[in-house]
C-alpha cells in the first residue's frame, strides 16, 4: 500500500505540534504510520482530549450522594432519582458542522447526543437544545437558523424523541459561527447501567449499524481549529449525514441486546473520531488491548484506506464487546431489526490497540497512552483590554426612558425575547406521552412511567415499585453578553437563572451538564474568559446543588471578525417530588395576588441592573456596562423560598425575571398560556410599583437585577407567602393583582411618575409573531 511519507508538513496539517510529535515518537519508539498519525491527530484534538481545558474542568463540583456515574467516567453521567430509577443526561455541541451545513450539522448533533445516552443502557426520553445565531436581518443568518431548526426537527421527530425545551438567542457575535448545543436525557433502572469498557480477554468485538463511508472524515479535528471560510469550504465533506430512522433501529436493537442476560461486556458509540475513539477508549477503560481487522468493517465506498476507515465519522454506528459464547444473540437481535453487524476483532491482554488491514498491521499503539496521556496545556491568560471600557461605563450617561410603553412593545419583538413558537412547533414535543410541561414555560417537565424504561431481561421481574411515576424538570440557559461583559459574574448568573427556572417549576436540582463555547484558547484574552467563566460556573453549580455530570468543550468559535461572545450554556435537571408541585409561569385566576420575591432593583449595582441588559442593547444600542451582580446566597434564598411556597401548595404561577426585566416578565405572565392553534388565553394584571424606590424608570421596568421571581397566589395565601419569604430573609412585596381574562385584558403598571398600560392581546401578537413574520416573509 502506498501511504504518504510522514513529513513535518503532514504532521502540521494534522494539527499536531512539533512537541506533540516528539511525544508520539517516544510513545511508539518509531515514526508513526499514516494511519497512526491520523489516529493521534483526532484523539489529541481538543474535541476528544480536552487538552486545553482539563485543568479547568477539574474544578467543577462533580459529586453528590445521588451520582452513580460521574463526569468523565463514561459517555454520560448517571443520577439516582429513587425507587431504583436513574437518569442519564448530557449536552454536546455541534457548532462547526452546523456552520458549514446547518441541516445535517444540527441533525447529527442530535443523533450523537442520543447515542451517548443509550450507550449507557438508558432509553432516551426527551431532548433540549440551546441555539445561537447572528442577527435575523441577515439572509445568511436566516438560512442557518432555518437549516438548524429543520435539522433538529428532522432527526428528533423521526427518531421519536420529544424536543421539550430549549433556548434561542440572536446576537451579531455569532454571525457565521452559530452555536448548536444539543441535550438528551434517558432513563434506566439501577442495574441496567452499561459501560464503555472492553472487558474480558478473548471477548469478540462487534461492529453494528450502517456501513462506514468517507463522510465526516476527521470531524473532531475540524472542530478543533478556527473556523475560516477556507476551512469551511474545504471541510464541507467533513460534515456527517444523519439517518434518524437507522438510529432508532440501532437503539432498539442495542437496548434489546443489553437486556439479553450477560450478553454484553461493554458498549460504546462511534461518535467523534469514530472507530478510533471507540476502540482505544474501551480498551483504555478496561485496561485491556483491542485488535481489529478493517477488512471486516462494513464499507459503503470502495477502496477506502485504513486511514479513512479509522477516521470516518459515519453516523449511527456502535461498537459492542460481547461476552464469549453470546455471539448468536447479536446475530438474532440485529437480524430481527435488519441491521448490519460484523465481528471485527477481539479483546487482548496486550494493552495495545492493533489495527490490521487484510492481516497487515497498520497501527499498533498503547491504548491507554493515546486515550489518557494526551498533552495537557496550561494556557496563558490575560485580562482583556475591553473590560476597562466596560467598567468605566456609567448608566448616568444614558437618559432615563420617556417612551416606556413603546419600550416594552419593542422588547417583546426582540427575537431573543419573543416567543419561540416558530421553532418549537416544528419539533414534536409530545411523542412518548410524557410531556407534562411543554415549551413555553420556565422549565419543561417530563413524566417517567413504566414504559419509559428500557426492557427487562427475559424472565426478570420488575425492580421498580408498581405505579411509580416521576417528574423530571429541565431547562437550559446561557447569556453570552453577560459573560462577555463579566466572565465570572456573568457565568454565575447563567447557572442561577437556570436553577431559578427549575425552582419556578417546583423542582429541586439534581445535577447539570454544561457546554463551554469559547474562542481560540491560544489567545490569552480569550483564555481569560474561559478561565474566569469556569470559576463562576463551578461556584454556582456547587451552591445550587447541581454538580456537573459531564458536558462538552467547544473552542475555536471564531469567524473572520473575531471570537464569539464567550458562551457557557448550562442545562440543569431536577426532580419535582409530587405531581401537585408542578407549576407554570402564566397567571391563572382573576383576583389572584401578584407578589415579587427578591429586591425590585439592586441599589448596590451602579448600573441598577441595566448593564448588558436587553433594554440597553436594543433600545439604546449599547452593549456595555458591568452586568447585574449575582449574589449566590441571596439567589439561593429566593429559590428556596419559592420552592417552599410551591410545596406548601400556595403558588398558582411562578416566573423568573430575566431578559427584559420586570415588565417583560409581567407581560409573559399575562399571555403565555396557549391552549391550541390560534387559541391563546389572556389575563390582565394591575400592578403598582409606585411605592418602590428607584431613581430610574427604565431600571425598575427593564433592569435585569438578579434573584427575582414573580408569583401569583389566591388572596387567602398572600400573607403566608410574605411570612415564608421573611423566614428566608427574602424581600417580598405584593405588587398587584390578576385581572379579567379575554381579548380586552389590560396590563397596567403604575409608577410614581405615571401609569402605563397595554392591551394584552395586542402585545401578545407582537411577541408571538416576531420571529415567524421575519422567517416566513423572507424568501429562502
Amino acid at each position: 500500500m502506498n501511504e504518504p511519507v510522514i513529513t513535518p508538513e503532514l504532521v502540521a496539517k494534522h494539527g499536531i505540534t512539533p512537541e506533540e510529535y516528539e511525544n508520539i515518537l517516544k510513545i511508539l519508539g518509531r515514526v508513526p504510520t499514516y494511519t497512526e498519525l491520523g489516529i493521534f491527530s483526532v484523539m489529541w484534538s481538543e474535541h476528544c482530549s480536552y487538552k486545553n481545558t482539563k485543568p479547568l474542568l477539574k474544578t467543577f463540583p462533580t459529586r453528590s450522594d445521588r451520582i452513580m456515574v460521574g463526569a468523565g467516567e463514561e459517555n454520560a453521567g448517571i443520577i439516582d432519582i429513587g425507587d431504583n430509577l436513574a437518569i442519564a443526561f448530557k449536552m454536546e455541541s455541534h457548532n462547526h458542522p452546523s456552520a458549514v451545513e446547518p441541516f445535517q450539522g444540527a441533525a447529527t448533533g442530535v443523533g450523537g447526543i442520543i447515542r451517548d445516552i443509550f450507550t449507557m443502557g438508558a432509553r432516551p426520553i426527551c431532548a433540549m437544545n440551546s441555539l445561537r445565531f447572528g442577527e435575523l436581518q441577515s439572509p445568511e443568518v436566516r438560512r442557518l437558523f432555518r437549516g438548524v431548526v429543520g435539522g433538529i426537527a428532522h432527526y428528533g421527530n423521526c427518531f421519536g424523541i420529544p424536543t421539550i425545551a430549549g433556548e434561542v438567542c440572536f446576537d451579531a457575535s455569532y454571525e457565521g459561527n452559530p452555536l448548536v448545543n444539543a441535550f438528551c436525557l434517558g432513563v434506566l433502572r439501577h442495574e441496567q447501567i452499561a459501560r464503555g469498557a472492553a472487558k474480558g480477554i478473548g471477548n469478540p468485538v462487534f461492529y453494528v449499524g450502517p456501513a462506514t463511508g468517507r463522510d465526516g472524515l476527521a470531524g473532531a479535528a475540524f472542530a478543533s481549529q478556527d473556523l475560516t471560510e477556507a476551512s469551511a469550504e474545504q471541510q464541507r465533506g467533513a460534515v456527517q449525514v444523519g439517518d434518524p430512522f437507522m438510529e432508532k433501529l440501532v437503539m432498539e436493537a442495542c437496548l434489546e441486546l443489553l437486556a439479553a442476560k450477560d450478553a454484553v461486556a461493554g458498549i460504546q458509540d462511534m461518535g467523534a473520531a469514530g472507530l478510533t475513539c471507540s476502540t482505544c477508549e474501551t480498551a483504555a477503560r478496561a485496561g485491556t488491548g483491542i485488535e481489529i481487522e478493517l477488512s471486516k468493517v462494513p464499507q459503503r465506498a470502495t477502496g477506502m484506506t485504513p486511514y479513512e476507515i479509522m477516521l470516518s465519522e459515519s453516523q449511527e454506528r456502535m461498537l459492542i464487546i460481547v461476552n464469549k459464547g453470546h455471539e448468536a444473540e447479536v446475530q438474532r437481535i440485529f437480524d430481527k431489526w435488519d441491521l448490519p453487524w460484523s465481528e471485527i476483532g477481539v479483546v487482548t491482554d496486550t494493552g495495545r490497540m492493533v489495527v490490521r488491514n487484510h492481516g497487515e498491521v497498520v497501527a499498533d499503539i498503547p491504548a491507554a497512552k493515546i486515550a489518557n496521556d494526551s498533552p495537557v496545556y496550561h494556557r496563558e491568560s490575560k485580562e482583556p483590554e475591553y473590560l476597562n471600557d466596560v467598567r468605566a461605563f456609567q448608566i448616568s450617561s444614558v437618559q432615563d426612558t420617556t417612551t416606556a410603553t413603546q419600550d416594552l412593545e419593542a422588547l417583546l419583538a426582540v427575537p431573543t425575547i419573543a416567543s419561540k413558537n416558530w421553532v418549537y412547533r416544528q419539533y414534536d414535543h409530545q411523542v412518548r406521552d410524557g410531556s407534562v410541561v411543554c415549551p413555553g414555560s420556565d422549565a419543561a417537565v417530563v413524566r417517567i412511567k413504566a414504559d419509559s424504561l428500557p426492557m427487562l431481561s427475559e424472565g426478570q421481574s420488575e425492580t421498580v415499585p408498581a405505579g411509580t411515576e416521576k417528574y423530571i424538570a429541565m431547562a437550559v440557559d446561557g447569556n453570552g453578553t453577560y459573560v462577555y461583559l463579566d466572565p465570572y459574574e456573568g457565568s454565575k448568573t447563567v447557572v442561577a437563572e437556570c436553577a431559578r427556572n427549575l425552582a419556578c417549576t417546583g423542582a429541586i436540582p439534581l445535577g447539570s451538564t454544561d457546554n463551554l463555547n469559547f474562542g481560540n484558547p491560544h489567545h490569552p484574552e480569550l483564555f481569560y474568559q474561559l478561565k474566569e467563566s469556569v470559576r463562576g460556573l463551578a461556584e454556582a453549580c456547587d451552591v445550587f446543588g447541581a454538580p456537573v455530570t459531564g458536558g462538552n468543550v467547544s473552542l475555536y468559535n471564531q469567524n473572520p471578525h473575531g471570537a464569539i461572545d464567550p458562551t457557557p450554556t448550562i442545562a440543569i435537571v431536577g426532580l419535582v417530588e409530587k405531581k401537585e408541585h408542578i407549576t407554570t409561569q402564566w397567571f391563572k385566576d382573576e383576583g389572584d395576588v401578584i407578589i415579587l420575591l427578591g429586591e425590585a432593583v439592586d441599589e448596590g449595582d451602579p448600573n441598577l441592573g441595566l448593564g448588558g441588559s436587553a433594554y440597553l442593547q436594543n433600545r439604546k444600542g449599547i452593549k456595555n456596562g458591568t452586568p447585574p451582580r449575582c449574589d449566590l446566597k441571596k439567589e439561593k434564598a429566593v429559590q428556596d423560598a419559592t420552592l417552599d411556597c410551591i410545596r406548601a401548595g400556595w403558588v398558582k404561577s411562578a416566573h423568573d425575571c430575566s431578559e427584559g426585566g420586570l415588565a417583560v416578565t409581567l407581560a409573559e405572565c399575562c399571555f403565555t398560556k396557549n391552549v391550541a392553534l390560534n387559541t391563546p388565553r389572556f389575563t390582565g394584571a394591575q400592578v403598582d410599583l409606585s411605592a418602590l424606590k428607584c431613581a430610574r424608570k427604565d431600571a425598575l421596568l427593564f433592569g435585569e437585577t438578579q434573584s427575582r421571581i414573580i408569583v401569583s397566589v389566591s388572596p387567602a395565601n398572600a400573607d403566608k407567602i410574605l411570612a415564608k419569604a421573611k423566614e428566608h430573609s427574602v424581600p417580598a412585596a405584593v405588587i398587584g393583582k390578576v385581572t379579567g381574562s379575554g381579548k380586552d385584558s389590560e396590563l397596567s403598571i403604575r409608577l410614581a411618575q405615571e401609569t402605563l398600560s397595554w392591551n394584552v392581546s395586542a402585545i401578545y401578537g407582537t411577541w408571538w409573531n416576531a420571529i415567524g413574520s421575519v422567517m416566513d416573509a423572507a424568501a429562502h
Partner: protein, 231 residues
C-alpha cells in the same frame, strides 16, 4: 377488548397507544411486529404514528407492503375495526383501505400543537360516544398531513358521512384559520364506506390523560370499545 398495535421499524407512537389502551383504559393491548402474518385474536387494530421505514420514498409507501399489512387488509375486509393515527392514516391511504392521500403541509413545515376537531356523524365505531358536533382538543404532529382527494371522492365522503373529524375553532366552526396544514374541507380524519376503518392525523393517544392537559382523545378509543362490546 383485545387491541393489536402494529409495530413497524420506525413506529414511534406504538408504546403510547399501548399505554393508553392498557394503563388508562384497562383493556388488553399488545404490539404486533411487522413481519407477522396474522392479527391473531385481535378485536381491533391500531396502526400507530411514527416514521415507518423512515418515511423513505413516501410516507407509508413501504409499510403497506409489509407482511402485517396484508393481514390487516384481510381483517378489515372481514369487517374488523382498524384505526390509523398520523403515519397510520398515511399507511391506510397507501394501502387503499382509505381513499385519498396525505401530502406535505401547506406551510412546508412540520407542525406540533393542539388543534380543535369537530366530530362528524356518530353512527361509526370511532365516534359513537361523541354526539355529532362535539369539539375535541387533540394535538397534531406531522409534516405531511394535508388531506387530498379528487372532487368526486370528496363529494362521496361528505354524502356518505365519512368525514369524521374536521379542523375547527374552539366553538366548532370549521374555518380556514383553524386548518393547520391545508387539508381539503379541513379534513383531519375519515372512515371508509363500510365505516370499520378510520384514519386521522391528530393523536388521540396524546390527549387521553389530564396530566397531558387533555383527555378528549379517549372518546375515540372508548367509542371503539363501546361499539365492540355492544356487538
Amino acid at each position: 377488548m383485545n387491541f393489536a398495535v402494529l409495530q413497524f421499524p420506525g413506529s414511534n407512537c406504538d408504546q403510547d397507544c399501548v399505554h393508553v389502551l392498557k394503563n388508562v383504559l384497562g383493556h388488553s393491548a399488545r404490539l404486533l411486529w411487522h413481519k407477522e402474518n396474522s392479527v391473531g385474536d385481535a378485536d381491533a387494530v391500531i396502526v400507530p404514528g411514527g416514521f415507518s421505514y423512515g418515511d423513505y420514498l413516501r410516507t407509508g409507501a413501504i409499510a403497506r407492503y409489509s407482511n402485517v399489512m396484508a393481514a390487516v387488509t384481510e381483517f378489515a375486509n372481514q369487517g374488523g375495526l382498524v384505526m390509523g393515527i398520523c403515519n397510520g392514516f398515511q399507511i391506510l391511504c397507501e394501502a387503499g383501505l382509505l381513499p385519498g392521500a396525505l401530502i406535505r403541509n401547506r406551510s412546508i413545515k412540520f407542525r406540533c400543537e393542539f388543534v380543535w376537531l369537530r366530530t362528524g356523524p356518530a353512527n361509526t365505531p370511532f365516534t359513537c360516544k361523541a354526539p355529532e358536533g362535539t369539539v375535541l382538543r387533540i394535538p397534531i404532529a406531522h409534516g405531511e398531513g394535508c388531506y387530498f382527494a379528487d372532487p368526486e371522492t370528496l363529494k362521496k365522503l361528505e354524502a356518505n358521512g365519512q368525514i369524521l373529524w374536521r379542523y375547527c375553532d374552539e366553538q366548532g366552526k370549521v374555518e380556514a384559520e383553524a386548518n393547520p396544514n391545508g387539508s381539503l374541507l379541513n379534513i383531519a380524519g375519515i372512515c371508509n364506506e363500510k365505516k370499520n376503518v378510520a384514519g386521522l392525523m391528530p393523536h388521540p393517544e396524546r390527549a387521553s390523560e389530564d396530566i397531558l392537559s387533555s383527555s378528549d382523545g379517549r372518546i375515540l378509543f372508548e367509542s371503539m370499545i363501546q361499539w365492540h362490546c355492544k356487538k
